[in-house]
Symmetry: C2
Subunit: 487 residues, 2 copies
Amino acid sequence: MGLATETFFLDPDAAGTLQARIQAMVAQGILSGRFRPGERMPSSRALARHLGVSRMTVTLAYTDLVADDYLIARGRSGYFVSDTAPQPSGHVPAPREDRVDWQRALQPVPAPAPRVERPADWRRYRFPFIYGQTDPTLFDHANWRLCALRALGQRDFDAMTADHYERDDPRLVDFIARHSLPRRGILAGPDEILVTMGAQNALWLTAQVLLGPDRHALIEDPAYPPLREILHQSGARVRPVPVDAQGLPVEGLPVADVAFVTPSHHCPTSATLPLERRRALLDHAARHDMLVVEDDYEFEMSFLGPPAPALKSLDRDGRVIHVGSFSKSLFPGLRLGYLVGSKPFIDAARALRSTTLRHPPGQIQRTAAYFLELGHYDALIKRMSRAYRRRREVMDAAVAHHGLDVAGRGSFGGSSLWMRAPGLDAAALAADLRVKSVMIEPGAPFFADPAQGRETYRLAYSSIPEDRIAEGVARIAAAIDARRPGP
Amino acid sequence: MGLATETFFLDPDAAGTLQARIQAMVAQGILSGRFRPGERMPSSRALARHLGVSRMTVTLAYTDLVADDYLIARGRSGYFVSDTAPQPSGHVPAPREDRVDWQRALQPVPAPAPRVERPADWRRYRFPFIYGQTDPTLFDHANWRLCALRALGQRDFDAMTADHYERDDPRLVDFIARHSLPRRGILAGPDEILVTMGAQNALWLTAQVLLGPDRHALIEDPAYPPLREILHQSGARVRPVPVDAQGLPVEGLPVADVAFVTPSHHCPTSATLPLERRRALLDHAARHDMLVVEDDYEFEMSFLGPPAPALKSLDRDGRVIHVGSFSKSLFPGLRLGYLVGSKPFIDAARALRSTTLRHPPGQIQRTAAYFLELGHYDALIKRMSRAYRRRREVMDAAVAHHGLDVAGRGSFGGSSLWMRAPGLDAAALAADLRVKSVMIEPGAPFFADPAQGRETYRLAYSSIPEDRIAEGVARIAAAIDARRPGP
């Protein structure tokens, strides 16, 4: 590959002769790793014209660079970066000294929340009990490609390329309104729906338009760690409410402006909020003029029974804001989700979305719309549900066989078990297990006080093949035994 | 198409017999437009099982709905929504009464900035002097599709599907570092680059991490209207600085924490900031410990001469934050741009991006990386530049021929002329011209005080075919004459 002439600039502030400055520029490009061995330099004629210097100056510079083995000459083909050129010393060094006091210049931000561990190379582990990632053996990659290809067609040129400012893809919104939401018992019109960059973006927009330093928010404890980060970033006073085996207890629930809940599958315990609690929660909200934000992630994974209708389906007052996501059912790298709520709220969230990023890319909105419209999504959910059901059976059996301590599991389904290892530090257990090619997720990051989650961990079955579950659970049981003091 | 059984829910709070509630549910679905003429109802057996009622109850409900012409029975095929069913009355009515005081519930936000007008059907106009949209006759749609297809391949499954939290596509970042930035004279390592959802998202992230109510910001006047919205949203005190024919005047420039500038092509006048002013601006920034945010949009459109190196290329102190975008060169619906700056700044912007939306979708990052790597991008820029150069020549000639008043034009290129219609209201002129199938953009929204831009308008040549320019400009001249008082 030839290096583009346009990427060469003489430093206007550098000292030295023109020839020396050209040599320095080339050597610096090689030492910084920008020009790589074997790459062809511009011809001396082209570079001279571009820099506005004589050709002889460039030729002399090149000749000196050959002498120093930065370049080699290959007869008529020109000059190339030498294979034995001095090695770049790591990353590109910035040719400057930073004189900015960044600590002063940057706005203060809350410390980032602890993360659920997931190394980039998790697919290399044989027993990945890892949550929320796409299983290539289940995902319908072929039809996704076909839908993407269709969305890239001439007829959809405007849907892909145009700047839509505040508008979403009408086909995607129509599908959500007519098919996705009715499955949750929700009726909503197009102006009560906003497409977002995944559920994370939906929760962030919601927190920004509803919360501020003068507001109070409730969050389940444990909860999805990024949500805690989002709420703290809003400046609101955040109060964690410990959940029990049925999810958020409503009796004695504090009063606040907004409560963030996961009624369908509590994150991370998978508990389902019973109908009486849902009604009580809405009564409590009505009595104290509260809003309720329902993160309805993973409702599609209800293979053990029909999912309970969404909390939003019981909402008569417009108090519930519903967050949906395609991350679990399609794939998280897609970054598509949606918000459902009263028009004034959706309008405010739309305006904020527009200021921060305008709109989710047209191309992926249209691809998703086709995938949904053509029924591939429903077929995918069925396939995933069948596989998860079998995995869940094997999980339940293996966990029971080894007497592991289950702290929570979804009565409708879900994709993980919530576990406890009494007396042990789950983070240390996870470290032990990695050496055995087993990956589990320590639960501490889900808790407002991580120490409270020290003994907990999550075992997801969305990415581990069915036939490896038994062996994986056996290894977990063995690792727990090894950590326990002997008799 | 059959209506999915799972989308039917009985309202647990409704009164009446089971049969009446089923009838109401179906009628409501039709009246709300959710069930459409010709769609097949679930079989009475399936619906009865799903709702947990007797099959006879459903059959009786269906029979009554046929009598009311909501449904028709087609022998063995089952029941369908009647073609002559009562018409839905507009949008889906929400079956509730909103009891939320949204004005109290929503955080106060500044009023949205006025927008540059661009109706959705602008492509139907014969003479669209419209800015920043993709010209299908220039864009390399075929190769974009091929690159998208490759990014959808099995080998890139993880790049597309995985949740990357904070990380960007390394291939895209590498290309930006090794090829895009050097063309602007900028050397930066991967940890000094952040991929964003377009330039808008880059500017928003920058404003959020650098500004707050305790900070002062400078903005050019006129300027890109969404930037004004972004700065006001940050809570900072914003001071507009009037530009002249050479862009931002540095002499007498106020002191502030951050200055937002467009040195390559001032938006919207296209003025290029001369080298002396760039140096003076950096000196001013160093003296007063200011940061400078450089929006380097449209640098690729420098077909009249090589572009001036970016302001960032002169930055020795790490004070300049550079914003790049693929919206003008690829397409705005892509939503891809990038930030370049010192690592502490990039780290802060990355953390904020992660909280708000995690990362731009993997699929579009990888597609763009391939399009760039394979050289299609450079070829596209060359093609666009050739076309724009020709269009610009025709523009300049037509504008001169009719004696129109040019208030600014890019000396290196650009894709628009900045115009003035002395004594006229450009918004009224634009309205006159729409009737003549000519679309121009009134300039008022670019100004801090819109009244100051009353006579200005923008004439872009990025979307109008070369052979329509002369006639389009003639119509503009005629409309101006028609508005001027006779002699």
